[in-house]
């Protein structure tokens, strides 16, 4: 069960040595580099792109980033433990479909929302059971549930759309907090991000997740209940995906079975761009937040600059490739320099 790598290329990443002198221009940490890139892109877009630096545009940009941002939070934790959850978008869709069906059958909306989030948690628990109790690879399991949950969404709602949600709820989903362009939904997402950040970076629980991702076997021997931790992460991932389904439904005022289709790849892309290692054990929540926003800002700015929406995939994909190739190339270069300097590589974890 202890796959030390999730889709590792057969060669392992070389340990980063210390070649401080000649590569000093490279930021020491990937998340810091990403935040700088984000600031640069925001600044550049504000100067160069007409209509970017308006409150209304910022509002739309942030509203668009909420769903990906929400799901990216638990996904970060899951990937740090060396697992992956590809079923998140289907969970979102199934929760949205069930939400529509329950609303049609006359449930009060408060209850519908709670039920949707609870359903998400149950769907996540199903993933968790398959991965931890049966010891199956999460990649395969969640490709299976990706198909299964999306299929069930169509079984529940067919190809109809439920759109008659009360106006005060749907407008609440896009409403802006007083005193700025920040939508309430984004405020909530940011608070949740802080909570996840604290749990990941400032609690023993968070440290355990890194330990599991670095070496599950060693983590188990040091007394960490690896399976139980992973199980609950999948539950949380499902619940937050359910929440994202609620948001999606209210934001577009439409419950549909195909809501959020394909979102899983966008979420995984944002998480990996954020510097989380697909092998597990490395990555920060700040990096992931910067990754989500960077992708959102680039998409928005390029769209305003009249680049066709579908062409933007080139940018997303290239960023993703660059985000793994560049740190690796730098690490290799450093290792080589370190060898040249007869300086033993100390396997410091850079670009974490």
């Amino acid at each position: 069960m202890a796959h030390d790598s999730l889709y590792a290329s057969p060669q392992r990443r070389p340990g980063a040595g210390r070649g401080r002198r000649r590569t000093a221009w490279v930021p020491r940490r990937w998340d810091a580099a990403l935040v700088s890139a984000l600031l640069l892109v925001v600044l550049g877009s504000a100067l160069l792109v007409d209509g970017f630096a308006t409150g209304r545009n910022a509002q739309f940009l942030l509203l668009d980033a909420v769903a990906i941002g929400l799901v990216a939070l638990p996904m970060t934790l899951v990937v740090i433990t060396g697992e992956i959850d590809l079923s998140v978008a289907s969970t979102l869709g199934l929760c949205s479909a069930v939400m529509g069906q329950l609303w049609l059958s006359g449930w009060p909306l408060e209850l519908v929302v709670v039920a949707a989030v609870a359903l998400g948690a149950v769907l996540g628990a199903v993933n968790g059971v398959f991965v931890t109790a049966f010891g199956l690879p999460s990649l395969a399991v969640t490709i299976g549930t990706l198909a299964a949950y999306r299929g069930l969404a169509f079984v529940v709602l067919g190809d109809q759309a439920v759109a008659d949600f009360p106006g005060d709820w749907t407008s609440a989903a896009v409403e802006t907090a007083p005193g700025g362009a920040l939508p309430w939904a984004m405020v909530g997402t940011a608070l949740l991000a802080v909570a996840f950040g604290v749990v990941l970076h400032a609690t023993p629980f968070g440290r355990e997740l890194y330990a599991i991702g670095s070496n599950a076997e060693a983590a188990r021997f040091s007394g960490i209940p690896v399976a139980r931790r992973k199980f609950w992460l999948f539950v949380v991932c499902g619940a937050v995906s359910g929440l994202a389904g609620v948001y999606w439904t209210l934001r577009y005022a439409s419950a549909r079975a195909d809501n959020g289709e394909g979102l899983e790849l966008a979420v995984v892309a944002a998480v990996l761009l954020g510097g989380v290692s697909i092998f597990g054990g490395r990555g920060t929540l700040a990096g992931v937040c910067a990754g989500v926003l960077l992708l959102g800002v680039l998409r928005n700015a390029l769209q305003l600059a009249d680049v066709a929406a579908d062409t933007l995939d080139i940018v997303t994909g290239s960023l993703l490739i660059v985000s793994v190739v560049v740190p690796n190339a730098v690490a290799m270069a450093r290792a080589r320099l370190a060898r040249k300097d007869r300086h033993e590589g100390t396997h410091e974890r850079k670009f974490g």
Binding site: F130, V155, G158, S318
Partner: protein
């Protein structure tokens, strides 16, 4: 181990046979030559992709970009025929395969040379190639009317009642399965997937082999793109999107271990055939078509669960056998000792 693997493919084949038998019992027209032809036609593209994916997955890698490669080559094939209507079929196929191989080489070079995980790189190229496709097409659609008659005939023609596309898929399957199973380079791919470090220590050029696996997968995705253009005649920039998950599903259902080192192209092809057949048999059984995707999901989970159970049983047996061997060895040792004391 071989017996286990053979049993594994037999299991998928049995599931397929049961599905066909059950559906045919309900409606005998399901076994009419027309209906079989339809299933084979729609399965052949997925089979070609699944065979290519197998080559990559046995090396403990994955190629998520195949849907985008298929889309790009399908569109390129259409464009080629629009620009030069007289292009011979062979040239079109070679161009498609070449373009696909180029995309695969891009994946392979990044993965093997820059030493980064395949999942991330091919997710990246999934987006990049789809974006290239969109910006090239910029909303344009190629219709059957733009394609030469002979090319479209290739997509629907039959030889002795068997669709040509299915024959192409079968030929690809036979060649790749033989290569993987009985040739040195093919076996090396399994060795890499079982234990990369051990493979390197035993002198296998791991980087070069992984690169080759991605080129093969890309080339077959390119071929699938040409087949897609011939089969459907209508090509826009969205062709093949989301197909990667279907392909991975087919491979997994067919018993190719997602962590490399085991499984055959035959299994993957049967998996692809099974996934396609489910679609048409649900329609024949008048099951709500909305159930189809849910059934596919259930099938994937069942398949990986079954693999796990089989692997666990093999491991238990091996452990029991080695325990028995050890006990026997100990006995022999003790007996030897006793005889030695007797002698003195």
């Amino acid at each position: 181990m071989t017996a286990l693997r053979a049993r594994r493919e037999l299991g998928v084949l049995l599931a397929l046979a049961l599905l066909v038998a059950f559906t045919a019992a309900d409606n005998s027209r399901f076994l009419s030559s027309q209906s079989i032809r339809d299933v084979l036609l729609s399965a052949s593209i997925l089979v070609v992709l699944a065979v290519g994916q197998t080559v990559v997955v046995v090396t403990r890698n994955i190629d998520l970009s195949v849907g985008s490669v298929l889309g790009l080559t399908a569109f390129a094939t259409g464009k080629l025929f629009v620009a030069a209507p007289g292009t011979p079929l062979v040239v079109a196929v070679l161009a498609g395969v070449g373009l696909g191989a180029l995309c695969g080489a891009l994946n392979g070079a990044l993965i093997a040379a820059a030493r980064v995980p395949a999942l991330v790189i091919t997710l990246g190229t999934l987006y990049v190639l789809r974006g290239v496709d969109h910006s090239w097409a910029s909303g344009e659609q190629i219709n059957a009317a733009d394609l030469p008659r002979s090319f479209l005939d290739f997509g629907t023609a039959t030889v002795l009642g068997v669709p040509v596309l299915a024959l192409v898929a079968a030929a690809v399957l036979l060649v790749v399965a033989t290569w993987l199973g009985s040739y040195r380079v093919g076996r090396e791919l399994y060795a890499i997937g079982s234990e990369p470090a051990a493979a390197r220590l035993s002198g296998i050029p791991v980087g070069a082999r992984v690169f080759l696996a991605f080129v093969v997968s890309g080339a077959l995705a390119g071929l699938a793109g040409v087949l897609h253009a011939a089969r459907y005649g209508t090509v826009d920039a969205t062709v093949g999107s989301g197909m990667e998950l279907q392909v991975v599903a087919a491979v997994v259902v067919g018993g190719v271990a997602i962590f490399g080192g085991s499984g055959t192209a035959y299994g993957a092809a049967i998996g692809a055939l099974l996934l396609t057949t489910i679609g048409s048999s649900l329609a024949v059984l008048r099951v709500d078509p909305f159930w189809q995707q849910a059934a596919v999901g259930g099938l994937i989970l069942a398949a990986i669960g079954l693999d796990r159970a089989l692997a666990a049983r093999t491991a238990r047996r091996a452990a029991a056998r080695s325990a028995a061997d050890a006990a026997a060895g100990q006995d022999a040792g003790r007996r030897g000792e006793r005889e030695a004391t007797h002698g003195s």
